[in-house]
Amino acid sequence: MIRFILLRLLRWLPGVLLLLLIVYALMFYGGGDPIQIMFSREATDLFQPGNPRYEALKDKMGLNRPFLVQFGDYVWKAAQGDLGLSLADGRPVMESISAAFPITLSIALAATAIIALVGIPLGVIAALNQNHWPDNLILGGALFFWGIPTFVIAPLLMVLLCLQFPILPVPHGWTGVFTVNAIIPLTVAAIRPMAIVIRQARSAVLDVLSEDYIRTARAKGLPEWVTITKHALRPVLTPVVTQMGVVMTNLLAGSLLLEIVFGIPGIGRLIRDGILNNDYSLLLGCVLVVLTMVTLTNLLVDISYPLLDPRLKQAQRGDV
């Protein structure tokens, strides 16, 4: 198990570094002069190339070093928890991220929980009523919400629930998962991924129901719900968990659109700030955090497979 985790990490670590290098290079060559970004609101002639102040600052910030040295330095510092200073406001990037990350994480976890608790049962119900009205309703609804982009559904829900039928206050900011404020954002965060999970769960259940051992269980005269919960559900979980992993990664990146619309101060909003202000030290920090979380999520998903599917425990892996 430990060897497995180490191997997985070994597979991911160079990848994270590579992606970071790519983003760093993109920013380095495509982004613009960090000093000019820092002082973009200044009288511009002060911080132009050639000006001694500019050159001194550039030296001080180590921007005259070769690209790879700068990158190495960045990685080395990042490993020690120092993500540098934001170009836009001069604050430690780590500080902003550690304020934003718990929020994004709690949204991701809460939304994932909602998706699992609502999506999987709906998928199962749809499968059990295949081609009858509950199935049609659930599938149609899922498809419908799948067709509406987040940035449309968010204001739509907001006007419906806050103004048309004023049952909720206008959600803004983040006060925690279990507050009235969180209802609409969490709904929006969950609703599109849920569509995929419902479909996935439905087809997984249909696949399982056609297996011989389920027919046997049914033939034995077991009550339907026993058949479903005891025999059919576990194998269904494997594909669904894979899907949940994907959902989770996307939510962890902080849904850009969600956080913009609801003013949630999470990672997605930081990324947007980074883009708006050309603040690539912030952007890089966010990318690094997102990559780390993605790695961990994938690791968890990988570890969970054999636990969910006992068949895999005995399975042979590798080249045959």
């Binding site: 495509g30 982004g31 613009g32 002069d33 000019q36 970004i37 002082f39 973009s40 609101r41 200044e42 009288a43 511009t44 002639d45 002060l46 911080f47 102040r53 836009a88 406001d89 001069g90 604050r91 902003s96 304020a99 934003a100 009205w133 049609n136 309703l137 599938l139 149609g140 609804g141 498809l143 419908f144 204001p155 739509l156 907001m158 006007v159 806050c162 103004l163 048309q164 004023p166 049952i167 909720l168 206050p169 206008v170 803004h172 900011g173 983040w174 006060t175 507050t179 009235v180 404020n181 913009i260 619309v261 609801f262 003013g263 101060p265 909003r269 700030d273 708006l276 202000n277 050309n278």
Partner: protein, 563 residues
């Protein structure tokens, strides 16, 4: 499958109908929904809800402000500066100047040496008096490049030693001499009869310099943060700041020496999404919005909401032309592009219900209709004729239009390029919402910039000095080092004249005429600072610095606000 399709159709129709019902959602603010739940306390990051009788004002800021230092001189954070920082001299809503921190001021006959007296009652929120050293220190700190004050040159340029300080070569201003604890003497390089108007602002209002400046002569990081208990000079003082969410809270300053503030608490909330902000205002979850105007604001909130105060000071929004970049380096081309545009149409589209007026000349909003120059001609035929002379007419470079960062500016820019397309057949254009999005190499290519140029106070030569004089930042950056020696000479001459001298305005007009024949800008709109407040907010007005005038008068009529 057929059932799915019918379900889908029904759902689609349902949503369409519901959203169509969304239009009456534009409930006039006077008729708030009666069945709305009590929801005002659901603000982010705030402590427990206070007692209901308290008057709590909520202001929406359109951005998350991580830097609330009073010495930045720009950005949305400075728009509520007057809540917690007193101005040096106060401009009232009719354009008159009244004492604030400075109780009185006088100048030598040649307008080169000015003396300012500090009000002996003026104290910081820790009870200590505001001294001349605080003022001198604040102004010196503001000139330091690392302080990143965006507008310091508007206020302090011309003071002896200013140029060295802004270049980062000096940390002190020898032109400012502390005579005694409450007297300052300011020496200028050249005469300036309106210096007291120039420094009448909150943006360089004195801060407690022992807190703000470190031993190295530079600003102490985060000294202004509520956690560091800054000594402030305004009617309110901060008690809570969350710079990650852009939330801050202010309570009355017990040592405030002016009239007693009427509110119990002020909250500033960052709401970046315009639609969310509008909803919060409609529901009474917020009272004032510092955000940019949406084209629909009028429909949603009525004329009162977008109205301006009576101040004669206009913010003039202009599309500046960078004359150093092809095709703008050819005057025929500039002429054609300027003449092809109908500013009235731009104004009507971006400000369908006002406020303000369509852009005209730079000086017209200041001097009124009499004796001013005529606005640039909108004449498609002349435009086409001039375009025929343009040496780039067969290989027109792409035209970048920068500064389209808010919805209204984007609308105006769309009309601009559409008129060019219809009149001159110019196809290749690109919008650059924010300049710093472009790399340095590309920034040099941009030909058209939307930006405002404030008069700050109604003075014609100052207006030109800040916009088209070759020494101004505007001429250097947005206009590509625009330099017309005759214009510079006329402006410099006008600036030295006494404000009562009619020649001051005449020389400015003459300079403006020269600028207009150079075809270097396209006027768009002249507007006062917009209010954006709900009707239950009382005594709310802003001045030319976008500052709330007489912030202690700000009040709420809780009976009108939806609960």
């Amino acid at each position: 499958m057929r059932r799915i399709s019918s379900v889908l159709t029904v759902l689609l129709i349902a949503v369409f109908v519901l959203s169509a019902c969304g239009s009456p959602a534009a409930v006039p603010a006077e008729n708030p929904p009666t069945n709305a739940p009590a929801a005002t306390e659901a603000q982010p990051g705030q402590p427990a809800a206070p007692a209901a009788a308290e008057k709590i004002l909520t202001i929406i800021s359109p951005t998350v402000n991580k830097d609330l230092s009073p010495l930045r001189g720009g950005g949305t954070a400075v728009r509520f500066l007057s809540l917690w920082w007193a101005p040096t001299i106060q401009a009232d809503r009719t354009g008159n100047f009244t004492p604030a921190v400075f109780a009185s001021w006088s100048s030598s006959p040649d307008f080169k040496v000015w003396t300012f007296k500090i009000d002996p009652k003026a104290v910081f929120s820790d009870g200590s008096p505001i001294t001349a050293d605080d003022v001198k220190g604040t102004w010196e700190l503001s000139t330091q490049p690392l302080t990143k004050h965006q507008r310091v040159s508007l206020f302090l340029s011309g003071i002896v030693g200013y140029d060295e300080a802004v270049a980062g070569n000096a940390t002190t201003l020898p032109g400012i001499v502390v005579k005694d604890a409450s007297t300052l003497e300011i020496t200028l390089k050249a005469p300036d009869p309106v210096l007291f108007k120039r420094i009448a602002t909150n943006l360089i209002g004195p801060v407690k310099i022992s807190q703000a400046r470190g031993a190295d002569g530079q600003e102490v990081a985060d000294w202004w943060h509520a956690d560091n208990k800054p000594a402030v000079s305004g009617p309110y003082m901060p008690v809570l700041m969350d710079i990650n969410t852009g939330y801050s809270e202010y309570v009355p300053n017990p040592y405030w020496w002016g009239p007693k503030p009427k509110l119990d608490r002020i909250k500033i909330v960052a709401v970046e999404d315009g639609a969310t902000a509008a909803l919060m205002m409609q529901k009474g979850q917020a009272d004032i919005n510092f955000s940019n105007d949406l084209p629909t604001t009028f429909d949603q909130f009525g004329p009162e909401y977008v109205g301006t105060n009576e101040s004669p000071d206009f913010v003039i929004q202009v599309f500046w032309i960078n004359g150093s970049v092809p095709p703008m380096d050819d005057i025929n081309c500039r002429t054609a592009l300027v003449m092809a545009v109908n500013s009235d149409e731009m104004f009507k589209a971006s400000h369908p219900h006002g406020p303000g007026v369509a852009g005209t000349t730079l000086l017209k909003p200041i001097l009124g209709d009499k004796e001013t120059n005529q606005p640039p001609m909108n004449n498609p035929d002349d435009a086409r004729a001039a375009f025929a002379q343009c040496k780039y007419k067969d290989a027109m470079p792409k035209i970048y239009v920068a500064g389209t960062s808010n919805p209204q500016a984007e609308l105006a820019a769309q009309i601009l390029v559409e008129q060019w397309r219809q009149v001159l057949g110019i196809q290749e254009t690109e919008f650059v919402p924010a300049m710093d999005k472009l790399s340095v190499a590309d920034q040099g290519k941009v030909q058209v910039f939307r930006d405002d140029v404030g008069t700050r106070f109604a003075d014609a030569p100052t207006m030109l000095k800040n916009s088209v004089h070759s020494g101004s930042g505007n001429a250097q950056s947005k206009m590509g080092n625009y330099n017309n020696p005759d214009v510079d000479r006329l402006i410099d001459e006008a600036l030295m004249l006494d404000p009562t001298d009619p020649n001051r305005n005449l020389k400015a007009l003459e300079a403006e005429k020269l600028v207009m024949t150079d075809y270097v800008y396209i006027p768009w709109v002249a507007e006062g600072p917009m209010m954006h407040h709900m009707p239950w907010v009382l005594n709310f007005a802003k001045n030319y610095d976008w500052q709330i005038i007489d912030p202690w008068n700000l009040d709420l009529d809780l009976t009108k606000r939806p609960q």
